[in-house]
Every structure is written in structure tokens, then in C-alpha cells.
């Protein structure tokens, strides 16, 4: 029965120092144990450690020895760090089960390859050992952003000031949404005054931006204004005044009416 070479990566460290020998009596000082526990990734990792450290043959594991060592270890763990123990306890149960099945004499017929009660455990141990090895190899590969450096040099970008495309329908849809949403809140009802009133309000305001004051009648002086437009204009003036966007004033009775910016 040959021993497998011990994987150096299976060695555990305490405070950065390699533990050359697994303590025979399993006594580990409590604070060291915590460090020790953290160096195992789980029960399979611990079992592999015990197997390698004691030069056990993974394909012919002496279940009694391994189970005893493992349980002694888990007992220590329970004393210090209970919350870690769940996965480890499950493994204890599995080990005891395998051990007991091996004690039961088997009928001759069942004495075939692959029928070993240990085979599932061994399969798991080998699979885990493979993955563990693979993970260490993976970590040896230079990683971009860590120890692999790719180029990313500058180049001058031509910034074209292209504006977003907007269609008239986009605006209508947006307005549609606004009205629909607002209609769901009675407190935010939207007044539905006619657009042309609104437009006249804007244009009167613009006029007042340029001229300090505007003669009321000048707003109606354009030729061939249809009556509708005149009314709209008049409404716009009233609305502007009511919304306190302009002032309307008159020096005296029958004198001229002026509009002015506020």
C-alpha cells in the first residue's frame, strides 16, 4: 500500500507558521483553534487533512481511526465555535454510519467492486480534492486587474453635439401621460384652457420683454384679424392679469389702457 505524496497546499498554518505535525493529542490552545478552524473549508477539507497527515490510504480508509480522530476534533470545535459545527456534525453521522456498516458481515454475493460502504465518501473526497487543486491552479493564472495588464490608451474623441431626436408625437405622448397621471389625482387637475389663449399669453409676455409697456389697443391693431383671434387675445390679457403675470393700468377714466411687465 503506497502513500500518496502529500499535497503541500493541504498544510495548515497558525499565525503564519506551518504546522509540521498535527498535534497527537488533538490539543490546540483555544484561540489558536479558531485560526485553525478557519483554515479548513469544511468537513471534507478536514478529513482530507487527517488522511494526508496520517498517511492514510484514501482508497482504503481505516474508518475506525479516521472517525475517532475526526470526532475528537469536532468535540474541540463544539467547545469553541459551535456555529461552525452543523456541517461537521452531519459528517460525523456519515462516518459512524459507514463504520457500522463495515462491521456488519456481508454476504459473499455482495462482495463486489464498488460495493464498499466507503465508496461514496471516497468519491466525495477525491472530487473535493480535485476542485481544491483546481482552485489553487486557477488562482495562479494572472488575472486582469490584478496581475495581468491590458492596454487602454487614450484617443481623442470627436464630440459631435448631436441632439436627441424628438418628434411632435413624442411631445404629445408626454403630454398625454402628464394629463393621464394628473387626472388620477383630483388635486392636480389640469386646466384645459385653449392652446391659442396660452400662445397669446406667451406672445404678449414676449412683447413686454422688449417693450416696457404696450398699449392695450395695439394688441388688436393688426389687419384682418378674425374675430376669434381678437377674443382669444383679449382672454389672454385677462388671464395674464389674473395670474399676475402682467399689470393693466389706466391714468384716468377714458384714457389709454397700458399693459406692463410686473
Amino acid at each position: 500500500m503506497e502513500n500518496l505524496s502529500i499535497n503541500p497546499n493541504l498544510q495548515a498554518k497558525i499565525h503564519g507558521e506551518l504546522i509540521a505535525e498535527f498535534p497527537q493529542d488533538l490539543y490546540i490552545p483555544p484561540d489558536a483553534l479558531e485560526v485553525y478552524l478557519e483554515s479548513f473549508e469544511g468537513p471534507l477539507d478536514l478529513l482530507l487533512y487527517l488522511i494526508r497527515k496520517n498517511n492514510l490510504d484514501i482508497l482504503n480508509i481505516p474508518m475506525l481511526d479516521l472517525t475517532n480522530q475526526y470526532m475528537a476534533y469536532v468535540d474541540k470545535m463544539k467547545q469553541v465555535k459551535l456555529e461552525l459545527a452543523a456541517d461537521y456534525l452531519l459528517m460525523t453521522a456519515m462516518l459512524i454510519e459507514i463504520k457500522s456498516r463495515m462491521l456488519v458481515p456481508k454476504p459473499e454475493a455482495a462482495e463486489e467492486e464498488g460495493d464498499d460502504p466507503r465508496s461514496e465518501l471516497v468519491r466525495k473526497l477525491i472530487e473535493y480534492e480535485l476542485i481544491k487543486e483546481a482552485s489553487l491552479n486557477l488562482n495562479e493564472i494572472p488575472q486582469l486587474g490584478h496581475d495581468r495588464f491590458a492596454t487602454e490608451n487614450y484617443f481623442h474623441k470627436v464630440v459631435k453635439t448631436s441632439f436627441p431626436e424628438v418628434s411632435i408625437d413624442d411631445i404629445f405622448d408626454a403630454w398625454h401621460n402628464v394629463v393621464k397621471r394628473a387626472s388620477q389625482f383630483s388635486s392636480h387637475q389640469i386646466d384645459r384652457s385653449e392652446l391659442s389663449v396660452r400662445e397669446h399669453m406667451s406672445s404678449i409676455l414676449r412683447k413686454l420683454e422688449n417693450e416696457e409697456q404696450v398699449l392695450f389697443e395695439d394688441l388688436f391693431l393688426k389687419d384682418e384679424q378674425p374675430i376669434q383671434k381678437l377674443v382669444v387675445c383679449f382672454l389672454a390679457i385677462l388671464e395674464l392679469s389674473k395670474e399676475m403675470m402682467i399689470k393693466i393700468f389706466q391714468q384716468g377714466n377714458n384714457s389709454k389702457i397700458y399693459l406692463t411687465k410686473i
Partner: protein, 206 residues
């Protein structure tokens, strides 16, 4: 001499793989032992000359040195990195719609219609586009600016005037809004409702 070439290679590799300009201080970190700033500067000068006829230029910018593609490649490189067509956010379009349909409006009006605070960016974007501007001030506390759409806006959308904006009326009717207060003033050209403001609706007609 052997050593100086090696240092030059290291500095070139560092500059080529850095995503940001490297200062001389940073380049000094490449080695544990201290390298003279003047040596590094000399090497950078050499590299600038080495690369003169190649694809990149080694240039000095505010925070250090960097390689950049020669300008003649810009056109090709831009083709591979096309600007994605910019888009306005929903908020910006809604603000534009509110200003177009409800002008003149203040920030407060926009906020109360949308029910959310106004992101100043929306106003800025639309102003930069010259689609809206300030057309006056409202005489209420704080004297808020009044926004309206511009001629430019009408031009860009091919409209003669605002009445050519898609008609919201039809759609409001669909929404079953209470339209009972609609006043048929002039062949229904003008429709005025002030219900939400609790004002006397008959006030103008008299």
C-alpha cells in the same frame, strides 16, 4: 547600458497599460529602489522620439504622461465607437410638453402638474436646445420665471403656431374628464375652465 534599456521597457509597458496619465512620481513606484526623476524624464524624452513614427504619441498632459492614438486615426476609431443616439428622459419630454401646452408656466406649475420636484437639468437641456426660454416673471412671492416655447421650437417641429400641436381635447374627452364647464364662446375655439381654481367662470364673459 543594458540596465537603461530595461528601465525604458518597464516605463513604456507601464504607460501603455495605464488607463490614466502617469506622473513621474507614479513611475518611480515601478522600482523599489529610487530612480532619479531626471532619468525618468530622459527616458520619456527618448520614448517620445521612439514613437514619433508609430501609431501612438507619448504626450504630457496635466497629471502626467500618456500614450494616445495619433489624430489621423480618430476618424476610424470613432467609427468603431459610435456615439449612441442621445435621448431625452421621460421627465424632460414631459416638461417640454407642459411648457408647450400650458405656457406660460412657472417651475411651480410644472411641479404641481407632474407631482414631483423639477430636475433643473430638464430646464437646462431644453434651454440649451433653444426650445424654451424665460418670457416673463409672475408676480407671486419669489417672483418665479415664466417659461414658454420659442420660435425655434416651432421651426424645429415644423409648426406655424402652437395651435398646430396635436389636439389634446379629443383625448381628454376619452378620459371622461368633466367637460360640463366648457364655454362655447367663439365656435368652440376658446374653451376655458377654471374649475380647479375655484374661480367664477362667468367673470370674463360679462
Amino acid at each position: 547600458m543594458e540596465e537603461i534599456i530595461k528601465l525604458k521597457e518597464v516605463i513604456e509597458a507601464a504607460l501603455l497599460t495605464s488607463s490614466k496619465p502617469l506622473s513621474i512620481d507614479e513611475l518611480q513606484k515601478l522600482y523599489e529602489e529610487k530612480i532619479d526623476r531626471s532619468t525618468i524624464r530622459m527616458i520619456i524624452d527618448e520614448l517620445m522620439i521612439d514613437w514619433k513614427d508609430k501609431t501612438l504619441d507619448l504626450v504630457e498632459v496635466a497629471s502626467g504622461y500618456r500614450f494616445e492614438a495619433k489624430v489621423k486615426f480618430t476618424e476610424h476609431l470613432m467609427r468603431m465607437n459610435p456615439d449612441r443616439a442621445p435621448k431625452y428622459s421621460r421627465a424632460v419630454l414631459e416638461v417640454l410638453a407642459i411648457i408647450a401646452y400650458r405656457q406660460p408656466v412657472t417651475r411651480g406649475d410644472i411641479e404641481s402638474i407632474r407631482g414631483v420636484a423639477l430636475n433643473p437639468n430638464a430646464i437646462r437641456q431644453l434651454s440649451e436646445r433653444e426650445w424654451i426660454d424665460i418670457i416673463g416673471v409672475k408676480e407671486t412671492p419669489g417672483r418665479p420665471s415664466l417659461y414658454g416655447t420659442t420660435k425655434h421650437f416651432l421651426n424645429d417641429f415644423g409648426l406655424k403656431d402652437l395651435s398646430e400641436l396635436p389636439d389634446i381635447q379629443k383625448f381628454e374627452e376619452q378620459l371622461n374628464l368633466d367637460l360640463s364647464d366648457t364655454q362655447v364662446l367663439v365656435n368652440s375655439v376658446v374653451k376655458k375652465s377654471e374649475d380647479q381654481k375655484n374661480t367664477d367662470q362667468e367673470s370674463y364673459e360679462e
